[in-house]
Amino acid sequence: MAVFNLKKREIECKIVFYGPGRCGKTTNLEYIFRAYKKQVEGEMVSINTEGDRTLFFDFLPMELGKIKGCDVRVQLFTVPGQVHYSSTRKLVLRGVDGIVFVADSLDVRREKNMQSLKDLQQNLKDYGLNIFKIPLVLQYNKRDLANTGMPIMSLEKMEKDLNRQLKAASLPASAVTGEGIGKTLQESLKLTLQSLQKQFNWAQK
């Protein structure tokens, strides 16, 4: 849960990148780490296992500077996507303020996307959070693979599969090339800070 220090006028929030295994959550954070050097506060921490699979989480702290009279800090996390790391995923999700759901555009990963979204909904529910109410951005990653001739899903199909009822903000992206990553982060931050404004009324008018 976000921490708001009224005296120091500081707000710290947590955004979690969620999604099925190998969908590109870590690659998202790696790109952000490289592209937003000025805002990154310290190092990116990755706890990986064999084959570069996230074992526990990735962590990237950022300092966004003053926004509406308040120092804004954001902690970016990824969860391990592999199905059997369910309890770790839930642990990382605790205290989340905003979510980026990274969906894999590869045709063969269609079911995994749906299962992961279902898993997210259940884990949020266990924490008393509603997937319809939490600041959520859907990112349709790996769009660049279309150029390789690999079968990928159309954006319409992904919208129908994942966003038919959620009606969350959604963006195409490629974490490898960086396309859409900044926009995803900006959208997520915007929604998260708007939501926190309702809770804490932190912004100075």
């Binding site: 295994g21 526990f56 642990l91 079911e111």
Partner: protein
Amino acid sequence: MSKKIKSLLQQAKLYRSQGLMGEAEKKYKLVEELIKESDQLPNKQKLLNGLSKKIDSLNKEVKAIESAPTTPEMSEHVNELIKKLFSFSSKEKNESETALEGAIALAKFGQFEGALEEFGKLLKVKSQKFSAAKNILRCHLEMGDIESATDQMEKWEKDNMFSSDQLEKITVFFDDIVDKKGLRKELAVSKEPEEKVASEDELENGEEFLDISAVAISFDSGPYKGEQIELDVSFQSGNVISLIISSKDEALIENMKVDARLDDVHFYSPVAIFRGAGIVSAMTQIKSGPKKGDYSLDIKIESL
């Protein structure tokens, strides 16, 4: 043929580069089948040998991933970070509560040695020592070190660290984990638990089902063969959903019989669409009201 094989191999290579080993293997197997079935390929055996090498190397990679430790010992820096990031109490308000949460986080991430050290410190804090003791036992048992756990309990008893009531609760807690983990045989002196207390995660909440708002049924026979029919859900009770079929849709009514199995159903939930199967459990004609004459169809969800 060779073009198709090349394309499949290219796909397998890309899946592999993405870390999607299962998908890569499927493509390799497909290539294998194609080569075996083909009569036109001149160098079949050579191709099969090459493919076999690729599959072997893929399997080795999968094995290395599967056998990698799931809870490797982390550096002190990472452990400090875990404690900091996963303790949610305000440090200013309650330092010992924060310390307990941090130690629990370490244990949850499998960092048992580091967690034991932290819990050990918390044994000296009156408000936390009971929780710390239970977590110390949990850590030892998670590491499969039943002897250290029993030694620890004996020491607490000897040192009068806890009241008899607390000690009893700790014993029940210990016995519960031992039973759950099937470690009773390993206990030097077997002692049956006096009272079995179910932990929170042991309590069953009953199976929960997602709310289904609509379904799309694909038919592989009958008048709708090859088509997909979308219907709204009018009512849901657990894993049984009710749909209304218009009396005008005679073909669909004809297609639906009680006990008919629907193997390809898309269930639309507020979260996403899930593919699964269902069985027609009831079908009755509505006798009154605005839907009079239409049919109410119940489908029991078999899998989601």
